[in-house]
């Protein structure tokens, strides 16, 4: 056993839980619990009976047996343990038996023993205290705990009393108690709890002093946790990370969290922080996963590994994720579990399949209406799909039931954003970020409100905050790049986008933006490369997503400028297949036709553009250009020739057609002449207008085209911005 040192960082609080006494009753009986200043909790809750017996002889006076269980330990375990301890007095819940594989034999054996061995006075008090804590009778727990501590003066009793204070929210008292004696400081569990209290009191520096700036156990060799709980060492590492994160030292925080997971894979808290806050790049995440030692989870190692796999980012290694997902479904029948569904929803969200994502989110929420992890996804899907009414309902329900949760105010903010009331949206996003300053989504939403109003400076500062909070995700940098792009600051935009690219080189949206940058820098071939790359990446994306469209549109523009008009038209037509509501696309197509001197087609397309957006300046200018081309004499020649065919066809036919008896003067009676007051010939009001026209005719087509280029591109960017905003506006 490695637990001979006073610092039992390899153990969890399970070892010092009073309930363990049942498993090692023999020890407990032989050795009075007063003798405990050097805690060597040789806990082994899952060892076989023989193992326990072996220990009995070797470690007689080193047991640390204390009453009451930690709230942190899993409820199932404590309940089982509880049943063991209180045996006949409490009603056994039958389902427990199946779930604990601690070994029925062991228990039965112990039960037999129990009858023979009475508990000591202190132990009985400990059990009392423990039960009181479990049943949230804090006064009882405090009262009795105080008495036990007075009787034994044991650091572990101090720990449990402090635990009572902590759970009832008296952090200062807990801290005070734990600073009481020098021995307490030597106990790892006490130190951990003390630091935890200090973090609750937001005394970050003091907390850091107590647990140390670096892991004090770093150099000790790896020891497997024996009791099945979470190693205190890992918890301390996690706490250290938390403190660093609160001190805005995200690099250190990331390291500490990583260390925590590496020390004990069961420290999900740290893993969650890492993933949730995107502290690592996609690649690093997968690397970390491969480094993790899942042996700590014992026979659950496979399950835990699969579960963790599903939590990772969905940018790369989709295959590994799919495999884990299907194994979880088939082998563990966890297909309906909300976390598994949630990771599926994440994947769908990344792939822009909002409808399906929404369905899964709804499935989860059906079971658990206020599942705060799934709500952000759900809200952004609703926003994306225009489910204003549902957003309204969700936001209201949340506000009624959880007025103090940050997600609630995120929901309200998104609702206002989707009904386009920007200033209200901003207010609520800022409220959400006040409630939880580390809530990146709220910051991004906050920034989006500025971006939507064209307040680039403020948007940039808000995005910058978000990027500080989410160092491992490329999105804030992408948004920053986009803002700079809109401000026409190509250099800075490129810098941010490159940084973003270094984090995640696979996001089609990012590649799209990179392409736009190259386009602006006139590196058309490179731009094409980027767009092609983006398309390649977007293959898995849903093809009607707006992202996909804007890539095609941009590619069309690139081809247009490369004078590859056929390809350009192809790209634009791809866009039109999905969405025919964008006048910019029609303008662009019109421009291509104009360049190819297909005046009729150009005019027709531009008309469509104007029918969508009646005052579109680009389309109007282009149309004027096209119409001016239209009056050239070649065009007229062509036109006359064409009509000649039709006329001659007619005359050929009608020469056969002798029976027709139409008199020419009947022409006068056609409905056109209904416009009696509209005599053309009287209306010729002189050529005062033709002068203007002459001026316009002189302007060269390429001049206008160049003039328009900037306008068009930037309007494209607007579009891009919009959709990226939507995609990540959770």
């Amino acid at each position: 056993m490695a637990s001979n040192s006073p610092s039992s960082q390899h153990n969890s609080t399970l070892t010092i839980s009073p309930l363990l006494i049942n498993r090692r009753r023999d020890l407990f009986y032989v050795t009075p619990p007063t003798n405990v200043n050097d805690g060597t909790g040789a806990g082994n809750n899952d060892g076989s009976l023989s193992n326990v017996n072996a220990k009995k002889s070797s470690n007689l006076n080193s047991s640390k047996i204390f009453t009451s269980s930690t709230p942190a330990s899993s409820s199932k375990l404590s309940r089982v343990a509880y049943n063991n301890s209180v045996g006949g007095e409490e009603e056994d819940e039958e389902d427990d038996d199946d779930e604990v594989d601690v070994g029925g034999d062991t228990r039965r054996a112990r039960d037999e023993e129990k009858e023979q061995i009475p508990l000591s006075q202190a132990d009985k008090l400990r059990l009392w205290r423990h039960d009181a804590l479990m049943q949230h009778h804090y006064k009882t727990a405090e009262y009795i705990g105080d008495k036990v501590l007075a009787l034994t003066n044991d650091p572990n009793d101090a720990f449990w009393l402090a635990q009572v204070h902590y759970t009832s929210g008296n952090y200062t008292r807990a801290r005070k108690l734990l600073s009481g004696k020098r021995e307490f400081d030597e106990s790892v569990s006490c130190r951990y709890l003390k630091a935890l209290c200090l973090t609750k009191l937001e005394k970050w520096d003091e907390a850091l002093d107590i647990i140390g700036e670096i892991n004090p156990f770093k150099n000790e060799q790896f020891v497997k946790n024996q009791d099945g709980g979470i190693k205190l060492e890992a918890s301390m590492c996690y706490l250290r990370g938390l403190i660093y994160a609160n001190q805005n030292n995200f690099d250190r925080a990331e390291e500490c969290y990583k260390e925590a997971v590496l020390v004990d894979v069961k420290c999900f808290e740290a893993f969650d922080e890492l993933i949730k806050n995107n502290l690592m790049t996609p690649k690093e995440e997968w690397e970390l996963l491969s480094m993790l030692n899942f042996d700590d989870a014992d026979n659950n190692n496979e399950l835990v590994k699969l579960l963790y796999t599903t939590r990772l980012n969905k940018y790369i290694n989709i295959k590994a994720y799919e495999e884990a997902d299907s194994r979880l479904k088939e082998e563990y029948t966890l297909g309906e579990n909300s976390d598994i569904l949630l990771s599926r929803a994440d994947l769908l969200f990344v792939q822009c399949r909002f409808q399906q994502c929404l369905e899964i989110c709804e499935k989860i929420l059906e079971k658990d209406e206020f599942n705060f992890t799934v709500l952000p996804n759900y809200l952004s899907c609703l926003h994306e799909l225009g489910g204003k009414n549902k957003l309204f309902l969700v936001a209201h329900r949340l506000a009624e039931n959880h007025p103090n949760n940050h997600v609630t105010w995120l929901a309200v903010g998104i609702y206002y954003l989707s009904i386009n009331r920007i200033s209200e949206a901003r207010r609520f996003f800022s409220k959400a970020s006040l409630l939880n300053p580390n809530f990146g989504q709220a910051w991004i939403g906050f920034a989006h409100t500025f971006a939507a109003e064209g307040e680039h400076e403020q948007a940039i500062s808000a995005y910058a905050t978000a990027s500080r909070l989410f160092p491992g995700t490329h999105l804030p940098n992408l948004f920053l790049g986009m803002q700079y792009l809109q401000m026409n600051n190509i250099t800075l935009a490129e810098e941010y986008l490159n940084y973003s690219y270094s984090i995640c080189p696979t996001d089609p949206l990012l590649l799209n933006e990179m392409g736009v940058i190259q386009y602006h820098k006139n590196n058309l071939n490179q731009a094409e490369q980027f767009f092609q790359d983006a398309l390649e990446r977007a293959k898995d994306l849903n093809s009607d997503s707006k992202a996909w469209l804007s890539i095609h549109a941009n590619l069309g523009h690139v081809y247009r400028r490369l004078r590859l008009y056929d390809k350009s038209l192809q790209s634009f037509n791809q866009v039109l297949k999905i969405s025919s509501k964008d006048s910019n696309i029609y303008s662009a197509i019109g421009l291509v036709h104009l360049k190819r001197n297909e005046i009729n087609k150009a005019i027709e397309t531009l008309h469509v553009a104007l029918s969508i957006q009646p005052n579109d300046p680009v389309a109007t200018d282009l149309l004027k250009k096209a119409l001016e081309e239209n009056i050239s004499s070649e065009r007229n020649e062509e036109f006359l020739l064409k009509s000649e065919e039709a006329v001659s066809r007619y005359f050929k036919n009608s020469s056969l057609f002798k029976t027709k008896s139409v008199k020419s003067n009947q022409l006068v009676n056609t409905p056109i002449n209904r416009m009696k007051n509209f005599n053309l010939n009287n209306k010729s009001t002189g050529g005062n207008n033709s002068n203007n026209l002459d001026v316009k005719v002189t302007s060269d087509i390429d001049f206008i085209v160049n003039d328009l280029k900037r306008g068009e591109d930037s309007s494209d960017d607007d579009g891009d911005d919009g959709e990226v905003m939507v995609i990540e506006s959770d």
Binding site: L627, S654, S661, R674, M675
Partner: protein, 591 residues
């Protein structure tokens, strides 16, 4: 047509009517059954007996076949049957969303068709309800997202080549302004199932030029399904007639085809209407009116196409008949778009333009696709000098039916009114390409070029107008076998001639100018005196005066007795001067 063919046609129509009804394609089903009832009646007893026996035999065969069908059971179809029944009932109660919802999990093709069709209809209904003001711009392509989802689902079933799914696909593509792909879908659908008249109609709507239409006709003609099957050929003949009608084409051939079909379907109102429309487009209003009168008697409660009848009456200015038609239509159904159009035409004829507009708007609220109402409303706005509203309604007219040359012409005029000649030129071009045989189109074009100071082009188009005018006259004269053969060179429009003269004057090509002015003046012999001939005379007088041909100048000037006071004053001064000069030269000579 022999009895066998009669029987085949009869059966095909009857079956198609039942099948289309089963798919809730009411309009197509209506067409089929109307055609069925429009067939000629068998005369002789033997034929009737033969017909009944054949029919009975067929029914028996079918029954036997149904008893023996063990092989391919369509499990999906059988399992979906109950849901399909429920869905159809919802559909009939116009609860489209509910209908689609019931069929959500169904897999059979007919269930999927009904589901997507009802989603489509529900979307159409909603977008119609949401657009409050019919001149609002927003409703164009109102809900693309739904179209996209429908198209996506259709993509899955593309391999089945189900004619009705293809038809739906085409309809949606057309809505999304993708006519080429839509045409392909319609074509495929019709190859699979030619008796879906709505599909033919949509195909015709999607075509924008007569050449395209002819191409399609030939494509069908070459297809084995059509060139070997007599019955399908008849359907194709309908298509041929309608495209000729829609694109304002006239030919002897079409009249023959029409007569041929009318022999088979003597009681089919649709065919009669086509005939009337062709006459109408040929400007033979009397004939058109007569046909419509017949239809009113044979099928009195039919309102379809009666708005065209009212147009005819309007142009013929038959006020009382139009009034009767309006009353009659509104007694049948007040809220049919056709009725509203008729009433609007009536008000328009009474110069109550606001009321007319109100009724056109009502017609359009009832049906966005009421083709003629947009154009006619545009005309009314022009009457009210509201160019912008006129432009808007013409635009919508062109959007719904880009073959409507009147709307294009109207657009041209409205833009001309706003002095935007570049625009109006384009619209006139459109109109002229749709109706190249109408000299007014060319005149309008010429006028536009003149405004744009493109005199050469203007001259070309005016000459074109002149040429057409002349050829038309020639044909008419020939056709009438008329007596005044010596007039073949004449019959030219003096307005155009004068315009040409003026244009040459602007180009300072006085020789040509003189030539046309002279021609214009010559027309006076035939057509009588008009403003233009008088002006030409005045110009000639001036011309001769400048050339110092005083005698001629005097002659022209004295003959001028028509025109405004200014012209007459000018003529008088020329006369005076010429007389003086003539007198002077005489005195010079004498001295």
């Amino acid at each position: 047509m022999d009895i066998q063919q009669y029987f085949e046609l009869n059966t095909a129509l009857r079956e198609s009517s039942a099948k289309l009804l089963d798919l809730n394609l009411y309009q197509s089903s209506k067409w089929s059954s109307e055609a069925l009832n429009g067939l000629y009646q068998l005369e002789s007893i033997e034929e009737k007996a033969l017909y009944c026996r054949e029919l009975q035999k067929l029914r028996n065969q079918k029954y036997l076949a149904s008893l023996n069908s063990e092989g391919g059971i369509d499990y999906d179809a059988i399992l979906d049957e109950d849901k399909l029944t429920l869905a159809k009932n919802y559909f009939n109660c116009k609860e489209f969303d509910r209908c689609a919802n019931v069929l959500k999990t169904c897999k059979s093709i007919s269930a999927i068709f009904l589901k997507l069709y009802s989603i489509y209809l529900s979307n159409e209904k909603k977008s119609q309800e949401e657009s409050e003001n019919i001149l609002d711009q927003q409703d164009i392509g109102s809900n693309n997202a739904i179209f996209t989802t429908i198209l996506k689902e259709l993509e899955i079933y593309k391999d089945f080549k189900d004619p009705f799914l293809l038809y739906l696909n085409g309809v949606i593509l057309l809505k999304k302004k993708n006519p080429e792909l839509a045409q392909e879908c319609f074509y495929q659908s019709l190859i699979e199932y030619p008796f879906n008249w709505s599909c033919w109609t949509e195909l015709i709507i999607s075509l924008s030029t007569f050449d395209d239409a002819l191409n399609f006709y030939h494509k069908f003609l070459k297809n084995s399904k059509f060139n070997s099957n007599r019955i399908n050929k008849i359907i194709l003949l309908f298509f041929k007639i309608v495209i000729h009608q829609e694109f304002f084409q006239q030919s002897f051939e079409i009249y023959n085809d029409l007569e041929f079909l009318l022999k088979i379907f003597p009681n089919f109102s649709f065919l009669k209407i086509q005939k009337a429309l062709i006459s109408y487009h040929a400007l033979d209003y009397l004939k058109a009116e007569k046909i419509f009168d017949d239809i009113l008697i044979s099928d009195p409660l039919r309102l379809d196409d009666m708005d065209t009848y009212s147009n005819i009456l309007y142009v013929m200015e038959k006020k009382s008949k139009l009034s009767f038609l309006a009353q009659f239509a509104s007694s049948i159904d007040k809220f049919r778009p056709e009725t509203c159009c008729i009433i609007a035409n009536y008000y328009s004829l009474r110069f109550e333009h606001e009321k007319a507009i109100m009724y056109y708007k009502r017609a359009l609220t009832l049906s966005k696709n009421c083709l003629s109402a947009w154009t006619l409303m545009g005309h009314e706005f022009v009457e009210l000098k509201n160019s912008h509203a006129a432009i808007e309604s013409y635009r919508r007219a062109v959007d719904t039916n880009n073959k409507d040359y009147r709307a294009w012409y109207g657009l041209g005029q409205a833009y001309e009114f706003l002095d935007m000649h570049l625009y109006s030129l384009y619209y006139y071009q459109k109109a002229a390409s749709l109706k190249p045989l109408d000299k007014r189109m060319w005149q309008a074009l010429g006028n536009c070029y003149e405004k744009l100071t493109k005199y050469r082009e203007s001259i070309k188009t005016y000459k074109k107008a002149l040429q057409i005018d002349q050829s038309m006259n020639n044909i008419n004269n020939n056709n009438n076998n008329n007596n005044n053969n010596n007039e073949t060179t004449g019959g030219r429009d003096p307005i155009i001639l004068y315009k040409l003269g003026k244009l040459y004057e602007k180009l300072k090509e006085y020789k040509n100018c003189y030539y046309y002015m002279k021609l214009c003046l010559d027309e006076e012999m035939i057509e009588g005196m008009t403003d233009e001939t008088s002006k030409a005379r005045l110009w000639l007088a001036n011309y001769e005066k400048n050339k110092k041909n005083w005698a001629l100048a005097y002659k022209y000037a004295t003959e001028l007795n028509h025109g405004n006071s200014h012209d007459i004053e000018e003529a008088r001064s020329i006369t005076r001067e010429a007389r003086m000069r003539l007198a002077g030269t005489e005195t010079d000579d004498s001295t």
